[in-house]
Symmetry: C2
Subunit: 112 residues, 2 copies
Amino acid sequence: MISKELIAASTKPLVLAILSEGESYGYELIQRVKDLSGGNIEWSEGMLYPFLHWMEDEGLIESEWKESDSGRRRKYYRLSTQGTRTLKTEYEHWLTVHNALTKLWKTVPHLT
Amino acid sequence: MISKELIAASTKPLVLAILSEGESYGYELIQRVKDLSGGNIEWSEGMLYPFLHWMEDEGLIESEWKESDSGRRRKYYRLSTQGTRTLKTEYEHWLTVHNALTKLWKTVPHLT
DNA sequence: TCTAATGCATAGCAATGCTAGGTATGTTAA
DNA sequence: TTAACATACCTAGCATTGCTATGCATTAGA
């Protein structure tokens, strides 16, 4: 069970990176991340929807209601210019921390 | 400026990994992490000390007051057996998330 | 026609992060 | 001498926030 801290830290970069591939909507994002992580990352709707609203308020993503072929209405999100920039800094910050951790892990016996 | 979410997610694995090299104390941990990260990760004392107390309560680390050669008293921490186990699961969880992110980042143009 | 899956939304409060403030000692420079 | 800085640890207290729990609506399948 992945800690809520790690979930909190990875949600923004994950959403931004997925949307960089093309538009998507809440429900699909949840499943995409579950798939990508082999079932280890499970977002709840109550966590993701408010977060998407917040990201939109921050100008990182833009939304549009659309009718899917099934007739169901979905709120599609896409990256804004600002979101694309933020994806890059999120990537850099993650690597900064990852590199610090990697240096340490290398010296730990029986870790890998 | 690294987000508080990313700081929160990385503090536990960083402390555990540093202590796996040998005992250390609060003030030194703060500097060690600053060094390791090229100055990008700056822990505050008000954040770290309560966290170390919490880790000790959880049984991840053990402490001992000692007199340093300079005559100053320091509270030295070392990994417990439980802490060593937790270091391993923290490592695995981090990699799970890191791998999911890496898959996505590979397809993003101009990211690297 | 009942259940499960899809799909979005938020009130409300329990939990918590960490700012801001405090204590104390050793060292260096003026 | 003594001021200033670095070292070293601690916590009260509360503003902030995460997300559980719940609700609504539609479509698919059994």
